[in-house]
């Protein structure tokens, strides 16, 4: 099986440790993953901000770069959602017949990390060790776009040493919403404030999620409050072992 890592431009630039964690995790499970260097971005920012013609080249690039792989794995629920919902829409509206076909052909092989582990590799215990009190924020797009359900939690529950505590109001949006956080920063901040209160109320030292963009937002708020709560991507917890702790 030829596996490709679609890391996303955001993680590539700001969170390389998440990409390394995915590589290490999959290798531990016996799978070599490739990182095609021609990859850039899924186009979500352009698409969701209304710049659809500008999205098209990114959709085309994605379809070309990953065409030959059996599975494309991404540690971003939001970008996986964009590929699944936004790419067909963009291809239908602006693309040619060939692109529409290429997108439709590739889509079933694109997986968010927890989907790939649980649905394809049929594994929930990935042999991880993470001795910390962790709470998990199921991001909006993982819940309501990808419908990953409790797959990330199944994976986390199997981690040895973890003290997993429930986050009240977990399914509420943190207020990020991409450019929403800039265009409607005050409303975004009001939503964030409620999320921060819930996170801090759990007493967890680590907040995890399947998306670094939401974690950047919540983490930015936690850092501003000097809360002492760290944000750690799901992949990094799953990659952590007693020998190589994150």
């Amino acid at each position: 099986m030829r596996l490709a890592l679609f890391l996303t431009c955001f993680n590539d630039t700001l969170h390389p440790q998440t990409g390394k964690a995915v590589v290490r995790l999959l290798e531990r499970l016996g799978h070599r993953v490739d990182f095609p260097l021609q990859q850039t971005c899924c186009g979500q920012m352009h698409f969701n901000t209304g710049y659809r013609p500008e999205t098209l080249p990114l959709v085309r690039r994605f379809a070309e770069v990953f065409a030959e792989y059996d599975a494309v794995i991404t540690p971003s629920a939001s970008c996986a959602g964009m590929v699944r919902e936004g790419h067909p829409v963009t291809a239908a509206q602006y693309g040619d017949h060939g692109l529409r076909g290429a997108v439709a052909d590739l889509l079933p092989r694109v997986y968010e990390l927890s989907e790939f582990l649980v649905d394809e590799l049929k594994v929930t215990d990935v042999g991880a060790y993470y001795p910390h009190r962790v709470t998990y924020h199921p991001t909006c797009h993982s819940l309501r776009m990808l419908r990953v359900g409790d797959k990330p939690l199944q994976l986390l529950r199997a981690v040895r040493g973890i003290d997993l505590v429930e986050l009240p109001g977990a399914d509420s949006c943190c207020g990020f919403g991409g450019t929403f956080a800039l265009k409607n920063s005050e409303t975004s901040t009001a939503m964030l404030a409620d999320k921060l209160r819930e996170v801090r109320g759990t007493g967890a030292g680590v907040l995890s999620a399947a998306d670094n963009s939401c974690l950047l937002h919540i983490g930015g708020g936690l850092a501003r409050l000097r809360s002492g709560v760290r944000t750690v991507h799901l992949a990094e917890i799953l990659a952590s072992t007693e020998e190589a702790a994150v």
Binding site: T49, R52, M145, S185, M191, G220, A223, E243
Partner: protein, 497 residues
């Protein structure tokens, strides 16, 4: 104004972010909203969760709406025929002004100078009360929440609960200071107990019900096949208006039709469970034309377009016309919960307002609304007729940008950033160079950024921003051949095996 949906948006309303600013600082409002939306949300979850076929009902509702809109022309003509056959009269209004004129003329023809009103979104949308006042006709709202809004000279902030932004202490003050202006005053010693407030409203409204000769209503549904019109409500005040006066005038959006009487079975399950979180609403009134000796002697049905035909023409946006005005999307929306309805500057607030209003009035007249969402998808999950609100929102965002492009209003700063980002992301080499520059720049800034300039300050007003790491993933991958040459990585692996 290119859209014909005049009065849908409140004139002079600022953009959503501006309108939201003072509302977000109003702690009383935030508390009222949080309490109210949380309660309704929990009730809705309980009564939708108990039905095994809830998802099938949603699918059926969506399919019915889709079919109705596809053949709307035919069903509307059928409705006109069946209403006329049953002794009613049908009027067609292309826009708000025409609808208001028709209603005012009909009231004048009765010789009356006042009407009682049932809660109605369509007449809110046309601004009927103000138009009637200009024509010398007093319109009295009889829905309890609409009464509160009218007495306070306020605007509704929710589709189902127009006074959701008020708590009972505020309502007591409104009743005490304003009831006398409209009729029977509130008692001097009025308390803020719900029972006492309801009693004051009951006494105030009763004299209007008994006196009124003309009523104006909206409609939840109209059956094309039979000409039957339905109003669904909780208080019974609507029933009073529908049965006591001699003349009944109903203003209804043209999308509110269902083909056959049996179709109501689906919607009368979907609507109360989604809106008030009840298995069944207390009052469902249905009437078919006029019946001698029973209820109004004259019935007029005003069919309102007001931007709906234009909305119907949009393949992607038309699903907004499926809306049955349950307001479940408002109650689950994290944005609405923080700002309340007034921030939307429209009769239709919340997620459905963000997709409906711009279509009714033209995107350029409500350009900030499609952006007033994080696309979290809670609205889509809650919608009883499965309107994919996030999908319509991103569609309308593209319309906003394209409209600006067409009028050569681009490039804005945002468009410049988007173009630059597009150029960087079009080439892995340029992306790598940008990452390198960002990481060098970041290192000058220290560990994290606490203050950014210009529009980016919106982020750093409440959040830190980490600086880019010294090495991007792609740089690491190239340098170490996918981790094979990485010292730490090799060490990790050796220790791990």
């Amino acid at each position: 104004m290119t859209g014909s949906g005049t009065n849908v948006v409140w004139l002079g309303s600022p953009s959503f972010p501006e309108a939201a600013r003072p509302l977000l600082k109003d702690e009383q409002l935030r508390g009222n909203l949080r309490r109210a939306t949380t309660t309704i949300r929990e009730r809705r979850l309980a009564v939708t969760g108990e039905l095994d076929d809830w998802e099938e009902l949603r699918t059926a509702g969506e399919a019915l709406k889709r079919r109705t809109l596809r053949h709307l022309d035919r069903y509307l003509e059928q409705l006109e025929e069946s209403v006329t056959r049953a002794g009613g009269q049908v009027h067609w209004a292309a826009d708000a002004a025409e609808a208001n004129r028709i209603v005012a003329d009909l009231v004048h023809a009765t010789g009356e100078r006042e009407v009682v009103k049932i809660k109605s979104m369509a007449t809110q949308e046309t601004g009927l009360n103000e138009a009637l006042a200009e024509a010398g006709i007093s319109a009295y709202e009889t829905d309890l929440a609409e009464l509160i809004v009218q007495l306070a000279d306020d605007r509704p902030s929710h589709i189902l609960v127009p006074a959701i932004h008020r708590n009972r202490a505020e309502i007591r003050e409104i009743f005490r200071t304003a009831m006398a202006r409209y009729g029977r005053p509130a008692p001097e010693d009025l308390s803020d107990e719900p029972k006492a407030l309801a009693e004051a409203a009951r006494l105030h409204l009763r004299e209007k019900f008994l006196r009124a000769k003309v009523a104006v209503s909206g409609a939840n549904f109209a059956v094309a096949e039979t000409g039957t019109v339905a109003v669904v409500e909780s208080e019974g005040n609507g029933r009073m208006c529908l049965t006591l006066p001699e003349t009944l005038i109903t203003v209804m959006g043209i999308e509110k039709l269902v083909p056959s009487f049996a179709d109501l079975e689906v919607f009368l399950q979907l609507l109360p469970r989604s809106s008030t979180g009840e298995r069944m609403n207390p009052y469902t009134s249905m009437w078919t034309g006029v019946t001698p000796g029973d209820g109004p002697r004259a019935f007029h049905l005003v069919l309102l377009d007001n931007g709906r035909t234009a909305t119907l023409a949009d393949r992607h946006g038309r699903q907004a016309l499926h809306c049955i005005r349950c307001s479940a999307c408002l109650n689950v929306c994290p944005v609405y919960e923080r700002t309340g309805g007034h921030a939307y500057g429209s009769v239709y607030p919340g997620p459905i307002g963000a997709v409906l209003t711009p279509q009714l009035v033209g995107v350029e007249n409500a350009a900030s609304l499609p952006f007033a969402s994080t696309l979290c998808g809670a609205c889509y999950d809650a919608c009883p007729v499965k309107i994919n609100i996030p999908e319509v929102l991103t569609h309308l965002r593209a319309e906003v940008v394209e409209a600006a492009r067409a009028r050569r209003r681009l490039p804005t700063a945002e468009a410049v950033v988007m173009k630059a980002a597009g150029s960087v992301l079009a080439s892995p080499a340029r992306l790598a160079a940008a990452q390198k520059a960002a990481s060098l720049g970041g290192r000058l800034l220290g560990h994290s950024v606490r203050r950014l300039p210009g529009p980016l300050s919106g982020w750093t007003d409440s959040r830190d921003l980490p600086v880019p790491p010294a090495e991007s993933f792609r740089a690491w991958w190239k340098r170490t051949d996918g981790g094979r040459q990485d010292e730490n990585d090799k060490k990790d692996q050796k220790e791990g095996t």
